[in-house]
């Protein structure tokens, strides 16, 4: 009887091997898809038991904190309500996360990398997350939000940043929403159905026509490429043929051969369209790419909440050399251009910071529950966009706009402001997309800003420039 006993043991070994194969399948090979399974609530339930870290503004204002509920789980509350709804976002077990809550989720729940994570595992994991400080300024944010709300249809965005450090001071988008109790049944779904798109962050996700603010980009390319100086003269004749089609100036106004500075001050379309056409797609594309167009802005913010600026056709980003691009009209902010306010603030910021683009960021430091600084977010240079002399020239051209051109409404008493207005006609509403981008003070700039309103009566100089003025005033004084 011994032979069948041995064979029987062989069968048992086979059965146990099958068990090991299946055990490996669930624990290792299929683990990722099981962890991502929609029915699997283990991850969020674990996270709900962690005292998520506090998010504070630069002045110490608490923007988000966790409150213990029955059953040992925590619920997020947002003391400033709607004010920072887009920048900070939200974090709820049932509906997920957005904004900085999502981008900084790992430190906020106390998750560590590398050797620290090993110690955590041995000591049984953390129950308290790290605190996050952000660069946002509640006072300026409030001014920006209120100004946007009371302008036009109340839809718009403001982004203000420190051009030297990249620290974002204001990221306002209206309309907003109150992130408190967002997980109440039906609330989130109702917000997503709202025609005003309150959950959508217009500062980083929108695709607006930039209007004449884009002439700053064309000016940078023109002067830095060495093909033009601020005194080069170009004809401002109304109805000049650009790409085979006559182009009109605002109000059909005609100019003679005028220097570029004057052409920017008065925002002459035909001059800048000709400049862009002369420079060509490749030169324009090179400077746009350096300024951050054609890729998602390098902000510490979830990737799907950031949009790349550039020429879009049928919802797809075109390459800078695409035959679909009318480079002359693009040079004055028309054609298929779609940009975010964040991208336009980065343009102003690069000019303000002597031609060097600094990576924008909202997080400033991560502090663990014992008070140790875990992460200090330092300014990071994205790269040099233009020579310092170009930045200086374009800056002085922009300051003429505020002194005597279309942007006089942004002038601050005692402080020199450099800026550029923009007004784009909209098909979807009866008003205009109004813009203003600026930096101040011109010598040693402290703030770079982009303001836009989705649908306002008037021009960028009349509508957006006064908002920029208020916000800059709050941030500089």
């Amino acid at each position: 009887m011994n032979a069948p006993i041995i064979r029987l043991f062989g069968l048992v070994v086979v059965l146990f091997t099958v068990l090991v194969v299946f055990a490996s399948r669930w624990a290792v090979f299929d683990a990722k898809s099981l962890n991502d399974n929609a029915l699997n609530k283990r991850g969020v339930l674990e996270a709900a038991k962690i005292d998520r870290g506090v998010i504070r503004a630069g002045d110490g204002t608490v923007l988000a904190r966790s409150v213990k509920q029955q059953g040992g789980v925590y619920q997020r509350t947002y003391p400033t309500g709607e004010l920072f709804s887009h920048a900070i976002g939200y974090s709820f077990t049932d509906i997920g996360q957005a904004g900085l809550e999502r981008f900084y989720n790992d430190p906020l729940i106390g998750k560590r990398q590398g050797i620290d994570s090993l110690f955590d595992q041995l000591s049984g994991g953390r129950k308290q997350g790290d605190d996050l400080s952000v660069t946002l300024d509640p006072n300026a944010q409030r001014i920006a939000t209120n100004a946007l709300r009371s302008t036009g249809d109340g839809h718009g965005a403001v982004v203000a940043m420190d051009p030297h450090t990249g620290a974002i001071k204001v990221m306002a988008s209206t309309p907003g929403y109150d992130p408190n109790n967002l997980d109440r049944p039906g609330r989130f779904a109702a917000l997503n159905r709202d025609s005003g798109s309150p959950v959508f962050n217009r500062a980083t996700q929108s695709s607006y026509p930039p209007g004449s603010t884009f002439k700053v980009v064309t000016a940078i390319a023109a002067i830095d490429s060495g093909r033009y100086t601020q005194d080069s003269t170009v004809s401002g004749q109304n109805g000049k043929v650009i790409s085979g089609v006559p182009l009109q100036n605002d109000n059909g106004e005609s100019f003679g051969a005028i220097p570029l500075t004057e052409a920017l001050t008065n925002s002459v379309n035909t001059v800048w369209a000709e400049v862009a056409e002369t420079l060509g797609k490749s030169t324009m594309g090179r400077y746009m790419t350096r300024l951050g167009f054609y890729s998602k802005p390098p902000l510490d913010y979830p990737a799907d909440q950031r949009l790349a600026s550039g020429e879009y056709r049928n919802g797809r980003l075109l390459s800078p050399l695409s035959p679909s691009i009318d480079v002359g009209r693009m040079g004055i902010g028309q054609d298929l251009l779609a940009v975010t306010p964040l991208q336009m603030a980065m343009v102003a910021s690069a000019v303000a910071n002597n031609g060097v683009l600094v990576r924008p960021h909202m997080g400033s430091r991560v502090v663990d529950p014992d008070g140790r600084v875990r992460d200090d977010i330092r300014p990071q240079e994205e790269g040099r966009v233009m020579r310092p002399s170009t930045a200086k020239t374009v800056g002085s051209m922009m300051s003429q706009v505020v002194k005597e051109g279309t942007g006089t409404a942004a002038a601050l008493s005692g402080i020199e402001v450099a800026g550029k207005t923009g007004t784009a006609e909209k098909n979807q509403c009866s008003g205009n997309q109004t813009w203003f981008i600026a930096f101040a003070p011109v010598t040693n700039p402290k703030i770079a800003i982009a303001v836009t309103n989705e649908c306002a009566n008037g021009t960028g100089g009349e509508v957006a420039a006064p908002i920029a003025k208020q916000v800059m005033e709050a941030l500089i004084h």
């Binding site: 009887m1 011994n2 032979a3 069948p4 006993i5 041995i6 029987l8 043991f9 048992v12 070994v13 059965l15 146990f16 099958v18 068990l19 090991v20 299946f22 055990a23 490996s24 399948r25 669930w26 624990a27 290792v28 299929d30 683990a31 990722k32 099981l34 962890n35 399974n37 029915l39 699997n40 609530k41 283990r42 339930l45 674990e46 709900a48 038991k49 509920q69 059953g71 040992g72 789980v73 595992q121 041995l122 049984g124 994991g125």
Partner: protein
């Protein structure tokens, strides 16, 4: 080194592991190491040492590895149950002590275990009777698995498996020659003579009846599998168990499609992430959560005491974590590595069991050791296979690890019988 000294040395790592395990759970629960873990470890070591000294006197030639392997599993089980629920662990420890007493009693009173042969029909009918007992009570998750005896819940299937194996070993020892000699070839298959085929059909009928009556696929796979294993070893004819397997498969298919509760288990097994089945009472929630818990563990696990068992509201996320799904908790906390170590320990026990069968000198001893080992191996396969979705999940305990008095007591008797067979087999002539 003598067999008993080897046993003694093998107990040392088992005790260290139990002490270490308790220490880990204590650190996790109270963030400090109290000396209670040492007390528990020492107590456990003391009990095992006592049993070992008894074996020295009573069964000096018995297999030296079986007892330490069992001690390892039981100790590990205590740690895991302690981590799930302290109260349950204290009860389990009491069952462990009672189990040891039963272990000693079995060895003392069944010194000549061949006495069992004399009472085989009594044992068989008693086993069938207790298996049918739960039908008096109410079903748990659709199956009739337990009887309420005062404050104690009694699971007859655990003891039934011993009785059935003893009966089959004894019956097949008598009839094996007849089964082989009277066999005829029919359609290329070697079939036993009809006269002796009858009792085997009765066993098949019983397995089917169990499906129908206690409605538990797991137990019936265990019993019938052990029967086929014994039939094969007794006759050395592969066609006998093959025919039996086909018959069983047909029966299982029929009941699987006609008994609602078994059908639901099979559906849940086929598609655990189906939203409809997942939300159904008695649906796929348990198996889905089992797989989620295992995925959460990964290669090295989350660590002792880290597994998420409860919901914030006070409910449970992992149903029956201390019994059916204890393997999922082990994978969750100790990872694939820990789970494989547990499976390896079971495999080693099976290896020792079959070794005992090989060494045994008479047919009854060989068949008894084979049957006990097979039913043990099948029990592990049925529950671990259920938890890892190899087969539909059923309510069988993981031997020596799962919480449950019946399981501990029955498996201690199983161990005692194996050691008795082993001692006789290895005793110098």
């Amino acid at each position: 080194m003598s067999a008993r000294n080897r046993e003694l040395f093998a107990l040392i790592p088992a005790s260290l592991l139990v002490t270490g395990g308790f220490a880990a759970v204590f650190i996790q629960q109270s963030a400090q190491l109290s000396n209670v873990s040492l007390t528990y470890g020492a107590l456990f070591l003391g009990l095992c040492l006592g049993a070992h000294l008894f074996l020295r006197v009573a069964l000096p030639y018995a297999d030296p590895y079986l007892f330490p392997l069992m001690a390892l599993l039981a100790g590990f089980g205590l740690v895991v149950i302690y981590r799930i629920d302290e109260k349950l662990a204290r009860e389990q420890a009491q069952w462990f002590v009672i189990g040891l007493v039963l272990f000693v009693a079995t060895i003392v009173f069944l010194r000549d275990y061949r006495l069992l042969e004399r009472y085989r029909y009594l044992i068989a009918s008693a086993s069938i009777a207790i298996l049918l007992l739960p039908r008096i009570g109410s079903p748990v998750n659709g199956a009739y698995l337990a009887v309420q005896l005062g404050p104690i819940q009694f699971q007859p299937a655990e003891f039934g498996k011993l009785g059935i194996v003893i009966f089959l070993a004894s019956y097949l020892r008598d009839t094996r020659q007849l089964l082989v000699q009277g066999a005829r070839r029919f359609l290329g298959l070697t079939l036993p003579p009809l006269k002796h085929f009858g009792p085997l059909l009765v066993v098949w009928g019983l397995a089917m009846l169990m499906l129908l009556v206690i409605r538990d696929l797991g137990s019936s796979v265990m019993f019938f599998g052990a029967f086929l294993a014994l039939l094969y070893v007794a006759t050395n004819r592969l066609s006998f168990p093959l025919v039996g397997f086909v018959l069983f498969a047909i029966g299982a298919w029929y009941f699987g499609t006609h008994i609602g509760h078994i059908h639901a288990r099979i559906e849940a097994w086929q598609d655990p992430f189906n939203r409809h089945l997942y939300d159904q009472v008695g649906g796929s929630y348990q198996i889905a959560q089992s797989l989620f818990a295992q995925a959460d563990g990964g290669m090295f696990g989350t660590g002792f005491g880290q597994s998420l068992l409860g919901l914030p509201g006070g409910g449970v996320i992992l149903p029956a974590a201390h019994t059916d799904l204890i393997y999922a908790v082990i994978t969750n906390e100790l990872g694939l590595v820990g789970a494989c170590a547990v499976l390896l320990t079971y495999l080693l026990i099976c290896e020792r069991g079959f070794k005992i069968a090989l060494l045994a000198r008479d047919s009854f001893s060989k068949l008894l050791a084979t049957g006990l080992t097979s039913v043990f191996a099948l029990q592990v396969f049925v529950i671990v296979g259920g938890v890892t979705k190899v087969i539909p999940l059923t309510g069988v305990t993981l031997p020596f690890i799962s919480y449950g008095g019946s399981s501990i007591l029955a498996n201690f008797v199983l161990l005692a019988l194996l050691l008795l067979v082993s001692d006789r087999a290895r005793r110098p002539a």
